[in-house]
């Protein structure tokens, strides 16, 4: 869409507006110049080089994955037989993979919601927690909270996982130390990651811990982008803090929330690093096993590359369905038509 607009403004006549972006080059002035060495070399390097790397290392593997998913290739045998959708049938009748998929669905339902609500609340406290008189302003000394909350985002996920693995440690861990310290002796030697009832919740908390700060900063930026007059107008009309947050802030930073929701959802469908660090074997009763772990294991330990590729395709389709759902829900509930990722 944007390119049509630019053409219109550049040419100034109505005709150009209906010419699609990839139209013959007559309408564009700069194409009339003769092809010089400068221009040819410029295009070859500027477009050719990045595209070559991108196509070879990103697009080509993606395409191949779809092809492999229809074969029984084990990676080390020279021949691969076309077996149609057999791999997919195998996946969907495999109890362990279905269990992993269920865990991913759990993550997709809870992770984005919890992270976003928590970071929205914190962002609101920072931005509109200040005085209700005079100019709209944030809480005093709040930048300290913002800076500290962002810390986890700078830490590699694997380090976060290992660190929390130690915090959850039954005997020497920080968490049980605190809990028994305040008198909750039933948590003495309680294995948070070793009990199938708590393993998933404990794992989710780690991921939330890692991302709340980032989204809080994102939402703070969004809220600061809202003109102060709007808040003032709402206040004059008698809206309290809560009402302002629900009726003014959230609708106006809706796009940011949608972006956050999609990113968190994609992360929840992956979640490989956290799971690998906290419970590399899939946890008690496979309660924290995710599809990505199963894929990794199938490919690089069992060498069933055809089957693993099919799992990858399932994962990709799940991601697409999720993104589509978020867009659809946002649109149906009256969100912006222009979707910005």
């Amino acid at each position: 869409m944007t390119s049509v607009k630019t053409q219109q403004s550049r040419n100034g006549d109505g005709l150009a507006a209906v010419v699609p972006a990839t139209a013959p080059p007559q309408v564009i002035k700069r194409r009339r110049k003769p092809l010089t060495w400068d221009k040819v070399s410029f295009f070859a390097v500027f477009l050719g080089l990045p595209l070559a790397i991108y196509l070879l290392f990103v697009i080509w593997p993606f395409i191949q994955a779809f092809g492999y998913s229809l074969t029984d290739w084990s990676g080390f045998s020279p021949n691969q037989n076309f077996i149609g959708l057999e791999n997919y049938a195998k996946i969907f009748t495999d109890d362990i993979f279905m269990k992993a998929m269920g865990n991913n669905i759990l993550l997709v339902i809870f992770l984005p919601i919890i992270t976003i609500i928590l970071s929205l609340v914190l962002a609101s406290l920072v931005t509109v927690g200040g005085s209700s008189k005079g100019q709209i302003k944030g809480l005093r000394n709040s930048s300290f909270y913002r800076v500290v909350s962002f810390f986890p985002y700078t830490i590699p996920a694997i380090a976060i996982g290992i660190m929390w693995g130690q915090i959850y440690d039954p005997s020497g861990g920080l968490l049980n130390g605190i809990l028994t310290g305040v008198g909750l002796d039933q948590f003495k030697d309680f294995a948070w990651l070793g009990d199938k009832n708590t393993a998933m919740i404990a794992t989710m908390f780690v991921i939330v811990w890692g991302f709340v700060g980032f989204y809080m900063v994102l939402f703070v930026a969004g809220i600061k982008g809202i003109p102060a007059e709007l808040f003032e107008a709402a206040r004059i009309d008698g809206a309290g803090r809560f009402r302002t947050a629900v009726s003014i802030t959230i609708p106006l930073i809706r796009d940011n929330i949608q972006t956050a929701y999609i990113y968190m959802g994609i992360l929840a469908l992956d979640a490989f690093v956290y799971m690998a660090a906290l419970n590399s074997g899939g946890g008690p009763d496979n309660s924290t096993l995710v599809m990505a772990q199963q894929l990794f294991f199938t490919a690089f330990s069992k060498g069933q590359f055809g089957l693993a590729s099919a799992m990858g395709v399932v994962l990709a389709i799940a991601t697409l369905i999720f993104s589509g759902l978020v867009f659809a829900v946002n649109k149906l509930t009256g969100g912006d038509k222009d979707v910005s990722l």
Partner: protein, 297 residues
């Protein structure tokens, strides 16, 4: 009605904006806000402090009590982690791989975004959407075929192979972000450069690239964090190669079940966390600015 109410409000806004009377309600809200934020801050910072403190303790001290201070503040654990556990060489590998990949992806990404944003030619839209597709697909899908692409090129388990793959996967985000940035730069400037006799190359490197500096800085920060934290790509295609930091950490934690040296593990985590944290604290102003830039497209 509303005008009547707003007049005193406006007055106070204009004439005494610095001394608003604080009501009891405000104080309560302020106190509650500070409490909630403080609690979250503690949740964030305590695990980090605890990890740092534990990195000085011996294994038996760690088991004795999670809270006790180390008897001696010695760097033994750090020495052990850095040399014996290979965190040192992995750290250097990480620095090399991320630095080289970052430079390449910034240059290539800027060039590609520039061409796509400033020139219209058959297929330019298609290329742009191809880039977008790379942003949405899960990396997982590509790992198995990528393994064999690199194997056939002889780049499997090598740092150059890792660098090229990092560049490939960081490219879509870089192009996508810089595309809108180059698009917003005025066209008159390119024309002026062309009139002054600058060729396409010179126009880009001497005129456009310096103008895009703020955008480049933001993308570079996010690319750095993304590549530094990368885990899946190295464990898939560099499993037997010279390890990078995230890989070495995972390997170190993985063998822990047998030879337990928790102190060294905490030291290894601290070594991973602290440098980036320090850089972040120094540059946090710019970074917070770029978060808002990156999302207000």
């Amino acid at each position: 009605m509303s005008t009547k109410v707003s007049t005193p409000e406006m007055k106070s806004l204009h004439f005494q904006p610095r001394t608003p009377a604080t009501s009891t309600g405000d104080k309560v809200v302020g106190a509650v806000s500070h409490t909630a934020l403080t609690i979250w801050t503690l949740i964030v910072i305590l695990p980090l402090l605890w990890t740092f403190m534990s990195s000085f303790k011996t294994s038996s001290e760690i088991f004795a009590s999670p809270f006790s201070l180390p008897a001696e503040w010695k760097l033994d654990n750090y020495v052990k982690a850095w040399s014996e556990a290979g965190i040192g060489s992995a750290f250097l590998n990480s620095v090399i791989v991320v630095a080289v990949a970052l430079v390449i992806v910034m240059v290539l990404g800027a060039m590609c975004a520039y061409v796509l944003a400033r020139y219209t030619f058959p297929g330019s839209r298609a290329i742009y959407y191809l880039m977008l597709a790379g942003l949405t697909f899960p990396i997982f899908l590509a790992m198995v075929p990528l393994f064999f692409v690199l194997k056939n090129m002889g780049l499997l388990n090598t740092l150059p192979g890792l660098i090229l793959v990092y560049v490939g996967f960081a490219l879509p985000f870089t192009v996508f972000f810089l595309f809108s940035f180059f698009k917003s730069l005025p066209h008159e400037i390119t024309e002026a450069a062309a009139l002054d006799g600058a060729g396409e190359w010179r126009t880009f490197f001497q005129v456009m690239l310096p103008m895009a500096k703020p955008g480049l800085a933001s993308v570079a920060i996010f690319n750095f964090l993304g590549l530094w934290n990368q885990f899946l790509i190295p464990v898939s295609i560099n499993a037997a190669g010279p390890r990078v930091l995230s890989q070495e950490l995972a390997a170190f934690a993985g063998q822990m079940g047998y030879a337990v040296d928790y102190g060294a593990l905490f030291a290894a985590v601290s070594v991973t966390v602290i440098p980036v944290l320090i850089v972040y604290v120094i540059f946090q102003r710019q970074l917070q600015g770029s978060v808002s830039q990156g999302t207000s497209k």
